[in-house]
């Protein structure tokens, strides 16, 4: 009688069971082989490097905070050094470093700063992004990541002090906050320069108490044509004047400045109703008027964009030409400007919008022509006409 299929299947199972030793070993071996993967790239020990440059004014704004792999951070910083830039600006989010009250996790800033110092780069640290514990309960009051109520200023100041103390001798430039003249950046609270002065005073005193060598930079203001009571913020010119009027000049050792060229060339003359590269000079005039003419200035964001679909972008050739002209102009004319930092060097991933037109290097570390040309200028090589 022919055997039924369940009987034959049972026979097969029995056959397998009798040889379980072999196939179990085979299965284990297959699992091991299938899970073999290249080891994570590890950084080789490298001697400390020095930046070779003919123009130490050059600086890049990096985006390393969201970078996971060590080798990408290292490769970015190495390319920045090879470009001839002497400094980087980097954001260190408070929310990442102090996820809970009293608990610090310095792992990520440690490795960025260690690798930057190894490449001989100066780090200008921008500190922002408020952790959840320092904001109101979202069930009672939904807030943005930039919301910091005045009663929490002391917490932020304590964080800045901890940062300044930890990186004493390594990071000497700290920017508390970013573009506080914008409604969005000020946590959707009413923008008031006088309140920023109160905030800055606390931060300045705490940071200097923790590390007397530290330089606190007045937060860069967003170049904007908003009026004094604008819906989206306040004019940078009005804001800076009111900072000085409120006595804020005593609470920053240097000023951070943002200045973008948009579609204008860098020699376009400044005017209060224009957004262009030389708008920064109007800020310098205000500093001069309040007796701060010699205070150092760090341009922590500047750039032209060559995205083909953005109305405020320029052609790639213009971008290179304007960038080099801006560097020459700043170096020769703006005596108190220590660094001109370009937004931005490379992003960990594509933005998929006009922001990609600011990058000097692609996500895959391919240098764009602007990188090559700025590098040639910084190293004192012949320029392409």
């Amino acid at each position: 009688m022919a055997e039924s299929w369940p009987y034959r299947a049972g026979g097969a199972v029995r056959w397998l069971w009798q040889r379980r030793g072999i196939w179990l070993r085979g299965a284990i071996l297959a699992v091991i082989l299938l899970n073999l993967a290249p080891a994570r790239a590890r950084l080789q020990p490298e001697p400390p490097q020095r930046v070779q440059t003919a123009h130490p004014i050059l600086c890049m704004h990096t985006r390393l905070v969201d970078e996971v792999e060590d080798w990408k951070i290292w490769h970015t910083l190495r390319m920045v050094r090879e470009m001839g830039a002497t400094a980087i600006v980097e954001l260190f989010p408070w929310a990442y470093i102090q996820p809970r009250e009293g608990v610090y996790d310095w792992h990520h800033p440690d490795r960025i700063i260690r690798l930057a110092r190894q490449q001989g780069l100066t780090v200008i640290a921008r500190l922002g992004v408020v952790p959840a514990w320092a904001r109101p309960d979202p069930r009672l009051q939904p807030t943005s990541l930039n919301y910091l109520a005045p009663e929490r200023y002391a917490d932020y100041a304590a964080f800045v002090a901890a940062f300044a103390a930890r990186y004493r001798g390594e990071v000497t430039h700290i920017i508390p906050w970013n573009e506080p003249n914008l409604y969005f950046e000020w946590g959707f609270r009413r923008v008031t320069p006088e309140e920023y002065v109160e905030f800055l005073k606390l931060v300045y005193q705490a940071a200097h108490a923790a590390n007397p060598e530290v330089q606190i930079l007045g937060a860069a203001l967003a170049p904007t044509l908003e009026p004094e009571d604008g819906a989206n913020g306040m004019s940078d010119l009005i804001y800076l004047r009111r900072i000085y009027e409120a006595g804020g000049g005593a609470y920053f050792d240097a000023l951070a400045v943002h200045t973008y060229g948009f579609t204008s060339p860098p020699d376009d003359p400044p005017a209060p109703d224009r957004l262009n590269f030389r708008r920064a000079e109007l800020l310098f005039d205000i500093m001069r008027a309040f007796g701060d003419a010699d205070k150092p200035i760090y341009i922590t964001e500047s750039s032209w964009n060559d995205h083909p679909r953005w109305t405020h972008a320029v052609r790639p050739s213009q971008r290179i030409e304007y960038t080099l002209a801006a560097l020459r102009y700043a170096e020769s004319t703006w005596q108190t400007v220590r660094n001109l930092c370009f937004w931005f060097f490379r992003a960990p991933t594509l933005y998929r919008n006009y922001m990609d037109g600011y990058a000097f290097v692609t996500v895959g570390f391919r240098p764009r022509p602007i990188y090559e040309e700025v590098r040639r200028w910084a190293l004192g090589e012949r320029e392409v006409p």
């Binding site: 049972g10 199972v13 052609r315 790639p316 050739s317 006009y354």
Partner: protein, 277 residues
Amino acid sequence: MRRYPTRNAALFHTLRRLVASLCCVFLFVQGVRYGRYHFFRPDPSWERVQARAVLVVGMDTSYYPFAVMQGERISGLDVDIALEIARRLGVRLQVAPMGVDGLYDALHTGVVDALISALPLDPFRLDTFLYVGAYLDGGYFLVSPKGLYQRMSDLEGKRIAAEYGSLGDEQARLWLRRLRSLRVQHYAEPSAALAAVAEGEADAALVDYLSARLWLREHREADLRIAEQPIHSEGYHVVLRIQDLALASKVSEALEAMRADGSLAAIIARWLGEDRR
């Protein structure tokens, strides 16, 4: 009750039934899930457009020659392609003008049915959107007298013109490492690079397709040809939501028919001049 010769036989019988039952349950669940997703999922996209008798297409109306707004009037290559697709689908076209940053959001939220706005395929968005038939390749091509130079290997010992800082320049700089004697000449604009080739200052230009077509349209006397294949391809697609397979199929058929009967080429030629390859 069934009797088994040994205890092992009873155990294997039970085990067999258990494994078979589990396999059946697994196959049934997977079958239902697959079927619901691929066969029984309702796709009213085409019925919705038919019921409205209007195809709503999102466009960035600040990008010449694809779509530009002059007063109340919107015109351009993308507009004409959208009009022709709508005509073939038997519906009216409604253009929703918007900024380029808002296009994908408008499609994702159902404000528009499709996007026709010189959009290249973005692999990152393939989970959410369908890219239908590239109607134009806006990438970088070699342009040379009589189409003499078609690829990198043809350029040994030649002079290549490129817009300074552009993707063409980036590519030409890479070729410098691979060819023994290539000379890269920089120009402020693609038009200047093409003019240099026409005047014999350079042997070939590496420029984007649109610049090449528009320049050749204005300079009919120049005996320049665009290479057959792109050096860097960037096809422009019609984009739809991934669940709108029925509508995508109709749009794809319309585009294929336009390609087959030459109407797509005619629309492109109307805006970019004749195709000189």
